[in-house]
Structures are given as C-alpha cells and as structure tokens.
Amino acid sequence: MRERRPVRCAILLLSPGVVWILFALVLPSVFLIAFAFATVGPYGLPHWPPSVSAIKRLAGFGMLGWSPDNLIILGRSAVEAGLATLAVIGIAYPVAGFVGLCSSRWRLPLVFLLIAPSWTNQVVRAIAWMNLLAPHTPLSTLASSLGFISQSVGLVPSRFAVFVGLVYNFLPFMVLPLIVAFGRVDRAQIRAARDLYAGPIRVFSHAVWPQTRSGVLIGTILVAIPAFGMYTVPRLLGGGQSMMIGEFIAAQFAGGADWPLGAAAALSLMALTMIGVAILRRLAVESADDLRVLL
C-alpha cells in the first residue's frame, strides 16, 4: 500500500501533460497521416480505402501527366525560408552583439525596442509592409529610379516583398537567443585570446564565435522552420505568384478542397523540417554545445 503512493502521485502529476500531448499532438498527427494516405472523395473529403494517390499528386503525377508545380512550391518555400534565415542572421548577429555587450543599464530598453513591433499582429505588420512597398512610395520610387522595377508597379506583390516580410517578421526570434548568447560570453576568454597574440579578427573567430554559435543554431530553428511553413506573409505580400507551401496547404483545406493532398503536403513539410532539425542537431552535437539539452 505504502510503496504505491509515489507511483499514484506521479501518474496524477503527469496526467495533464500526457492528456495534452495525446489530444494536441498524437491524435492530430495520427489523423494527418491517415488523411495523407486516404483517397479523395466528394467535396475533397478523405475516403477509404487507403491509397498513395495524394502523395503521387503532390509529387506532380496528375491526369495530364507529370508537372513539377507542387515540387516547385515546396522548393521555393525552402529557398525563401533559407534566404530569409541567412538575412536574419546577418542582421541579428551584429545587433545582438551590440546589445549583448552593452552595459546592463541599456540592455533592457534596447531589447524592449527590438521586440515591441512583434506585439502587433503579424497580419497587421504584413499589411504595413504592403503599404510601405506599394507603388509611388519612397521605397518603390527609389527601386524604380535605380532601375530594379518599372515605374508603376511598386515593390509589392513580389518575391522580394515576401523576403522582406519574412525577415522583418522573424528578426526577434533570432535576436533574442543571440542577445542571451552574447550576454553569457565569458569576457575572460576574449582577454585570454588577446593576451595570446590574437588580433581582432581571430579574437572574434576563436573566442566570440564559438561562444555564440549555439545562439545562431537556436535562432535558426526558431526562424527557418516557421518561415518554411509561413502563411500570412506570402499570402499578403506574394500576391499568389510565388505561393509557398503554407498557402498551398491552406488552399487544400479551404477553397478547392482536397484534404488528402493538403495532408500529404503537411506531412512532407513535417518530414523536411525533421531532416533540418536532424542536421542542426548533428552540428550541435559535434560542437558539444549546450544546445544538446534542447535537441
């Protein structure tokens, strides 16, 4: 009787989490996989018997033969997300370095300024960019006078606008982990490198970068994956010409409904994401980073 108490207690304590995982994670995943292997019925709803027709259609095998359109969408999403992530790293790294090495008096106000814009809904922010990049705005005028676009078009909708929107949207997710990483940098190691004859560039590459690399990896996970499946930004700034996978999935469950195709696309998104995480995990394990705790 006595020994059973802790066991019962543990079950009781764990149950909310277990229930949550069951209903919010396991069950939907089971449905998703099931739908992805169903046949499409009337109104685009999934029907049995199971088949791989949705997967085949996603890969581009239709009644009219093979077309790469869906794969192009998938590839474009990966490229857009990758480019946006690189740009986010390029902007966030120096910004976070400045903030993280700032005296603590200035750090909080600066962090506040950096994350304040993200308290506005992302739809609102995307619409704001629509206005900023519209024809006859200063940015569009500048771009057309430099010859990048013709006079009347404006910068939106375009792949460039999607890129700008993604970078803007995800910047805080890279900046914050990097500020934490920079704040934890052991300054003594910087001094040691200087003491041991390293000039500024090698102080950076041997003493600063190794201590902040895990921040970049965490930021990449937080940016690249959501950017890959992003819906609002490409929807509002891409104008349908440069559809990304998130938009594609949403379209299969609404408008011209085809649930099995949508489920198959979502499944492939998940698979690609997992491959990405596995690669990052490899990087983290190789460098014995504290990131291992996370992955």
């Binding site: 005296s103 001094r191 040691a192 200087r194 003491d195 390293a198 201590q211």
Partner: protein, 347 residues
C-alpha cells in the same frame, strides 16, 4: 630572458567612474617572483591587465625593461597571463588551448606539437592533452592555464590568484611547484593573491595594495618586521597593535594599559608580535613586564595560541609548544614585552 616591469603613476578609472588604480608606482625586478597582496576589489587584477596591455591606464606609464610600452597592444608584448578564472577555451581540447599562442604567432604545426608536448610533460599533464576542458578538475585546469601561458616563453608571467579555487593541500603543493618553475625558467613572475601567508612564502619581494594604492613594497621580511601603516599591520594579521597615548621623559611610552620603557622612535602605534612575548608564572621583574589573565588557550600543534586580558587591553601570545606546561584559562601570568623588537607604526 627575464624583464623588469615598472608602473609609473598609473591611474585607472573605469567608464562607470570606479577608480580602480590611484597613482600606482611599482617596480618588479627581472627574474624574481614578485607577489602582489591585497583585499578583494583593491585593483590587483586591473594592475595585471594594464601590465599585459589588456587595459589602458587612464594616465601614467607602463615600462618593460625601461621601455615605455603604454601604447603597445597586448599581442605585441612578451607578457602572458594566467587568469583568475583560467579563461580556458571551452571549445578546444587541452592541446589546442596550450598551443593557441604559438598558433596565433604563426609557428609551424609540428613545432607547435613538440612545444606543447614538452610543456605538458614539464607540468605533468601529458595524459590530458586530448581531453576537453569541461572534463578537467580545478588543479588540472590551473596547470593547463599555466602551460598555455608558459609555452610562449614570456619574459613576464602574470598570475592572477591562480590557486584561490583549489583546496588547501593542492594549493600548497602547486605553490611550491610554481616557485620551482619560476626558478627553473628564470622568468619574471608577478603573482597576485589575497592570501597573506602565500604572498610572504612565495615572494622574493612583495607589494601590498589597498583601494587602488600600493601601501608598501618590500621583501616579505621587511613587510613583516616593519609594516608601513597600521592598516597593513592589521591586514597582515601581525598581532598586537596598541595605540600610543603619549610620550614621557627618558623613552617612556604611555599605552592604555601600561607604560613601556626604552622605545626608540616615534609613531602612533606600537606593534608587538605574538610569538615574541614570553609568558611566565614568575612575578614581574623588568620594567616591561605586565601581569595578564589568560582568557583562552588554543592548542595549535607546534604552538599554543593564548588570548589574554591585561588591564582591559586584549593581547595575543603565541608560545612555542615545548611539551611542558599549558597555562589554563583564568590563570594570572606575567607577560614580558620585548620592546627592543617592537615596531613603531604610523596610522
């Protein structure tokens, strides 16, 4: 090989207004083990950083071998540091840590390997060369940090409290070893510590710092026998420091609890070391004998540490344990104050 180091009127005020160094003059003779002693926050690490070129003085000069190097960047000074926290590169293994300085100076790989292995052999950490820093114990880290600095054959080696994180036994062992290393290599070694015994035991010469200033620079014996200020005497834990209340005819000195005869110089305090006072049960005979009550007697192995009261004044006596009698608390004894070996101290 060994260089002498000088600080000339060095001030250091940090951006937040903290005045870490205040007119510091220091002369470290070449080839010696020089210790810098001072309480926490007195500016010891700052002084080392300025010698190494990792911090710039607000005013004043740094000299190495008589040459003004104040504006020479750290990587152009033949000075290396063992940092207070060791500051080892966590993402490199031990061998890469030790070889870092040579690598930065463009030494060829096989040569680096040989130098690293020799140094690791010298400090007996050869077995650790492939280990990650995270796996090392405190003592091992200390050796790696020492090797990383020494392998560059610096003319001056700065050590910032390298032993303070270690347990007492390891501490003594490594302190002896450091002194051996210094003698073997003949380099100039500046050793910072806040441990009085360590500073005295290791140093050929020592400087004592207090809130950004150097209070005294001398041999350990000189500082022990004639501390420059009362603060220093107290900080060194040197013993009985009694304020002088006045002077009388023929060398009389009035203290709170007695009058001493035959003191030569003048000062604000008289300092009498506890190990120099003799205790007897015989009645007072000489002019500088006083009666006192034993309050406490602590058995400390080779010596007995007595606390006494004498007309309301506290007194400490360290008597050799000669295996005979230990005075019990409550006993009244005679304390013989050796004025000829007392020091007069200014406030």
């Amino acid at each position: 090989m060994a260089s002498n180091v000088g600080l000339r009127a060095v001030d250091k005020t940090f951006a937040d207004g903290t005045r870490a160094l205040d007119g510091v003059d220091l002369d470290v003779p070449g080839g010696q083990l020089f210790t810098v002693l001072g309480p926490s926050g007195c500016g010891k690490s700052t002084a080392l950083a300025i010698i190494a070129g990792l911090d710039q003085p607000t005013s004043g000069h740094v000299e190495i071998d008589g040459r003004d190097v104040t504006n020479l960047p750290a990587h152009r000074r033949q000075v290396n540091t063992v940092f207070q926290s060791y500051a080892l590169f966590e993402h490199m293994n031990v061998a890469d840590n030790i070889g870092f300085g040579l690598r930065m100076r463009g030494v060829k790989k096989p040569e680096i390997r040989r130098a690293v292995e020799d140094m690791a052999g010298f400090l007996r950490i050869r077995a650790l060369l492939r280990s990650r820093i995270g796996q090392l114990s405190g003592g091992e880290r200390q050796r790696v940090a020492l090797a990383r600095a020494l392998v560059n054959a610096p003319r001056v080696l700065l050590l910032d409290e390298p032993l303070s994180a270690l347990d007492a036994e390891l501490r003594t062992a490594l302190a002896d070893e450091l002194a051996d290393v210094q003698r073997a290599l003949g380099i100039t070694l500046v050793f910072v510590t806040h441990d009085q015994a360590e500073a005295m035991k290791l140093g050929d010469r020592m400087a004592v710092m207090q809130t950004g200033r150097i209070v005294q620079t001398d041999t350990p014996r000189g500082i022990y026998e004639k501390p420059a200020t009362a603060w220093l005497a107290r900080f060194m834990g040197l013993g009985n420091l009694w304020p002088i209340r006045g002077y009388g005819a023929d060398g009389r000195v009035y203290l709170d609890f007695t009058t001493l005869f035959g003191l030569e110089a003048e000062g604000d305090y008289v300092l009498v070391r506890p190990e120099m006072i003799a205790l007897t049960t015989a009645p007072p005979r000489g002019p500088n004998d006083v009666t006192a009550d034993i309050v406490q007697a602590v058995f400390a192995g080779p010596s007995i540490d007595y606390r006494l009261h004498c007309n309301g004044q506290r007194m400490r006596v360290l008597a050799p344990n000669d295996g005979r009698m230990i005075h019990a608390p409550g006993t009244c004894v005679t304390a013989r104050i050796p004025v000829e070996r007392a020091a007069l101290i200014n406030a």
